[in-house]
């Protein structure tokens, strides 16, 4: 894993996002940190879920039998946690630095020839009332999420008619970082230039017993960028292609 000095910038000073963006040739996008930081943090969340589940099981065992349960070795877990936190350490640094090489996106190999034919949308994400960041991890909430197709991607009705997309159609979404298929929800509650993919889906942790594998993880479409200065992931700064196969 390539390391970047968290305090080092191109000019050797702490830069504001505007000049860093300008240096990177980007007009409005705050800059970088560790490559693939967003996917690493997604893994970290899943790891924490697994760890939490293991702790919960230990607590249940202890309370059920009234005696300490036999502890399993935590060495592999600790080692993995160290690796994961190490990977994301730069991303979580208090002041984020800019690395020009890592800020350059690489094109999605499957989309190089096709992308020009497809419309590009600003990807918006965020949680809904029923599904939090960690997903609808109870059977009742997951039943709501699936019955009402809460994992659908929202698309403006005018644009949807142009693309021949109707509510319930399966559409493809792709960015330079990820691609996948999900149901469409056609609505007038979103502007034509953006699509909304709800957060809290596409989890991979076994501890997420009901939400694992449902929907797409919106954060994996985001660029591996973190906002300068305070280190928040650029989850709202992604652009995606969206299309319906055969349309």
């Amino acid at each position: 894993m390539k390391r970047v000095d968290a305090w080092k910038t191109k000019s050797g000073k702490i830069e504001c996002s505007s000049s860093a963006c300008a240096d990177a040739g980007l007009s409005a996008m705050p800059i970088w940190v560790a490559p693939h930081a967003s996917s690493n943090i997604a893994r970290l969340v899943d790891y924490d879920m697994n760890l939490g589940q293991q702790n919960l099981e230990r607590i249940i065992k202890k309370s059920a039998v009234g005696a300490p349960a036999k502890e399993t070795s935590s060495e592999p877990d600790a080692k993995r946690a160290e690796e994961l936190y190490d990977d994301t350490a730069a991303a979580l640094a208090p002041v984020v630095a800019y690395d020009g090489d890592d800020a350059k996106d690489t094109s999605h190999p499957e989309l190089e020839n096709e992308s020009e034919k497809r419309l590009t949308f600003h990807l918006i994400t965020g949680v809904q009332t029923v599904v939090g960041e960690v997903g609808a991890n109870t059977p009742e909430l997951m039943d709501i999420a699936q019955k009402y197709a809460l994992d659908s991607v929202w698309i403006n009705s005018d644009i949807a008619s142009v693309l021949n997309i109707k509510t319930g159609d399966e559409v493809c979404i792709a960015s330079n970082n990820n691609s996948g298929k999900v149901q469409a929800f056609v609505t007038d509650r979103i502007v034509p230039t953006a699509v909304y993919l709800p957060a809290g889906f596409g989890h991979t942790s076994d501890a997420q017993t009901t939400s694992k594998g449902v929907g797409l993880n919106a954060y994996k479409f985001s660029p591996p960028l973190v906002k300068l200065g305070y280190g928040t992931l650029c989850t709202q700064e992604a652009c995606v292609w969206l299309w319906k196969e055969g349309a």
Binding site: T129, V130, T138, P139, E140, L141, M142, D143, I144, K147, Y148, N156, T187, D188, R189, I190, V191, P192
Partner: protein
Amino acid sequence: MMAKYGMLIDTTKCIGCFTCRTACQRQNNLLPSQDFIRFEHREVGKLPEVNIENVPLQCMHCEDAPCAQVCPTGAAHMGADGIVSVDEGRCIGCLYCMAACPYQVRVRNPKTGSVDKCRFCTVSATTSGTKMCTCVEACPTGARIFGDLDNPDSELVREIERTKATPIAGSLTKSKVYYVR
């Protein structure tokens, strides 16, 4: 004189959070897929002047309940308090009631095969003073009011008159659930 229980649902207050549905499931010990409250959503207007109407649908406890009329065993029946109930032990799972219900709010228990629906369980707060985890109690915006339709001084009747609330489908059945839209 026995009360005639009914409910008011103000869709202008409903934010579509599904809290009523989950509270109902907990209170009545339902399976995750059993929903006595079904949501319908309707968008009103066009961008940028667009809003959404959330309409929670449930058993309307009709005075002329079609479900009770078609039930071959009397499992679906109306009590003296006007509450339409289902006797699970007498239900043979023929699903006639599900076909007859014009609001399509009856649900089948996939484990037992019997059919069930809203029990107006929130009545306990009125009859015995015991408030339970019901749709009325759990609603964070106070969109639901339960009470006696025969009592002109009740909050329910006053709000129905003030808001000019009506049954969701007019005179389709003699519904005891009123909606503000």
